[in-house]
């Protein structure tokens, strides 16, 4: 494999992380379903996580990897709150589409 693609460098990982982050961002902006938006947000965070781990290996120190643990913990807390809010939205509006949440405007 190495002869065909060459060595996988830090740059490869960073480009992949940027792609994952961009996919997540596009999902947040274009999707209408709140649950899918939540998934896209997780994708953005995981894109950043991948960049942290790649840079951590690049610099040969562990700060980046430790950071990722904190991010995972925070993301879990955020997801719990997000799902609770989506359930509340479903109760008051009978749906989880973002289009149901358009009463505040102006």
């Amino acid at each position: 494999m190495d002869r065909v693609f060459g060595e996988i460098t830090t740059s490869h990982y960073v480009v992949l992380s940027a792609l994952i982050f961009a996919v997540g961002l596009c999902g947040v902006v274009t999707r209408r379903n709140a649950v899918v938006i939540l998934m896209s947000l997780e994708l953005m965070l995981n894109g950043a996580n991948l960049a942290f781990v790649a840079f951590s290996r690049h610099h040969a120190n562990l700060q980046g990897q430790v950071f990722v643990f904190f991010v995972i913990a925070v993301a879990a807390a955020e997801a719990a709150v997000a799902l609770a809010i989506i359930i509340a939205l479903n109760r008051v509006k009978g749906g989880v589409s973002i289009d149901d949440a358009t009463e505040l405007r102006g």
């Binding site: 953005m44 955020e78 709150v81």
Partner: protein, 499 residues
């Protein structure tokens, strides 16, 4: 041990969170009012803890990732005052909630813990976790009335925009880490010798320039922090969430959360300003954001008919003035930005206290319902008038002093920021228009609110104190100025170690 002593206010805040949570479990339903007293007492005790010698002396803790300096102390005291006033004005409001009184105060104090930490962080890891502690607490608080469509919608909007901004911030941090190889703030202030590839020497001129990855990282970080401070372009949640969230939460959000975002911006900028190329790269970006924020907030406020929504736009505009001082990136700019924010705490909370009490009687937030408020209830009318005029920057109130010197600090930067000075001045005039439209209604002859809202003695004292503070602060600003100037000057003294 000394490290732990420096964390006294934070430890106290966590203890208060746990105490309120446990008290909520033990107290019978009819005695839940005690929780409010507990939360109010906790904010006073926490304020006292910031004056305890080991904390008040300041210093580093935990390998330099936690920092207590003049600016951190001043901001922590401001957070205590904010929490105290918010808990004070929300007592009756929360007591009328069908459920979740304990959770309201628990989350409020959890957010306060996060704000404390935001004032003291000195590395990106603590920055992210502290900021998320504040943000996630506010997600729940904004959606607190879960049977109300508007409240849930506000929570959802805060959640989506907040999470996007957190992800942008995180990605920015990843790139700064990639460029520098460390998550400590100190490295940004160094001369480049500790950088692996963060700063590159430009061969021709021999000057240091920023590498693209560090530039991208800093850009994303400031973009992400802009969410908290309601700066363009992540300001879009502000009017909607302010309108939909429960009013005490809006008050807390408009002051506490914004101050936490600015605390982090100040801290980063204070570090960055010691590395000339980094500061030079950020100034035009911040100046542009300040100008856009000013125009968006002040022009958007003009057609509003809902007072909470109006204050949402107004708060975007106020954020623009602080950013104007930040863009000036001088010690003077920082000192006056701190001054302005301290004044903003008192001013905005005075306004929100009135709104909470009027809405208790009228059940509405229409600006039309404020017609003749000064006749039906002179104290509420006067307090709202003074608060709005101070926000607008009318003499003799404190808002004028802050605005004057913030614009002045940009003026001192010379020709590069001269255009921003004109933008700032133009916006004073725009803001005056919409604030005065409300003030005019308050003093109209025909009162639309027949029911005079009953104000308890506690709130009368608080409102009177607010009015006096705004006037005295405007006539004799040197007291507050001395505090904020020394905090800004002392900000760099203990915070200089680069790791």
């Amino acid at each position: 041990m000394r490290d732990v002593m420096l964390l006294l206010p934070e430890i106290g805040a966590v203890a208060a969170v746990l105490a309120v949570m446990l008290a909520d479990l033990w107290l019978p339903k009819e005695r839940k009012g005690t929780l409010s007293a507990l939360a109010i007492a906790a904010s006073v005790v926490l304020l006292a803890l910031t004056f305890v010698p080991p904390v008040a002396q300041g210093g580093h803790a935990f390998g330099g990732s936690f920092l207590v300096d003049g600016m951190a102390l001043l901001l922590k005291r401001a957070f205590c005052v904010t929490a105290f006033l918010v808990f004070l004005m929300s007592r009756e409001y929360v007591a009328e909630l069908p459920r979740g009184q304990g959770e309201f105060y628990t989350l409020g104090l959890a957010a306060l813990t996060g704000m404390f930490l935001c004032a003291s962080v000195n590395d990106f890891m603590s920055l992210f976790v502290s900021l998320e502690l504040v943000t996630v607490s506010f997600f729940v608080l904004a959606a607190f009335k879960r049977d109300s469509k508007l409240s849930v919608e506000a929570g959802l909007k805060l959640l989506v925009i907040g999470s996007i901004s957190a992800a942008l911030l995180l990605y920015g941090i990843a790139f700064v880490y990639g460029a520098t190889g460390t998550v400590m703030f100190g490295v940004l202030a160094s001369d480049g010798s500790t950088f692996e590839n963060g700063l590159r020497t430009q061969a021709a001129a021999g000057t240091l320039v920023l590498s693209p990855e560090l530039q991208l990282g800093l850009f994303l970080i400031f973009l992400g922090l802009g969410f908290k401070t309601s700066a363009v372009p992540l300001h879009v949640w502000v009017p909607d969430v302010y309108q939909g969230a429960p009013t005490p939460v809006t008050a807390y959000l408009s002051v506490g959360s914004k101050l936490a975002g600015f605390a982090l911006m100040f801290r980063l900028l204070e570090v960055v300003s010691r590395a000339a190329p980094v500061a030079a790269a950020l100034t035009p970006f911040l100046a542009l954001v300040a100008a856009l924020t000013l125009f968006y907030g002040n022009l958007g406020a003009i057609p509003q008919t809902n007072i909470k929504r109006l204050l949402g736009y107004s708060s975007i505009g106020q954020c623009g003035y602080v950013l104007l001082g930040i863009a000036a990136a001088s010690e003077l700019g920082l000192a006056w930005a701190l001054f302005y924010l301290c004044a903003y705490v008192v001013t905005n909370l005075t306004v929100f206290a009135v709104i909470i009490w009027v809405a208790r009687a009228t059940k509405s937030h229409d600006i039309d319902d404020y017609s003749g408020l000064a006749r039906t209830n002179p104290l509420l009318g006067t307090a709202l008038t003074v608060g709005l005029l101070s926000l607008a920057g009318v003499p003799p109130f404190i808002g004028l002093v802050g605005k004057f010197f913030l614009v002045g600090s940009a003026f001192q930067k010379g020709d590069t920021l001269r255009w921003l000075v004109y933008v700032g001045l133009a916006n004073v005039v725009i803001a005056l228009y919409y604030y005065l439209c409300v003030v005019k209604r308050i003093w109209m002859r025909d009162a639309r609110t027949a029911v005079a809202p009953a104000v308890p003695l506690r709130m009368k004292v608080a409102l009177a104190a607010g009015i006096v503070a705004l006037i005295v602060g405007g006539i004799a600003p040197q007291f507050l100025d001395r505090v904020t100037a020394s905090a800004a000057a002392g900000a760099g003294i203990v915070g200089t170690t680069a790791r």
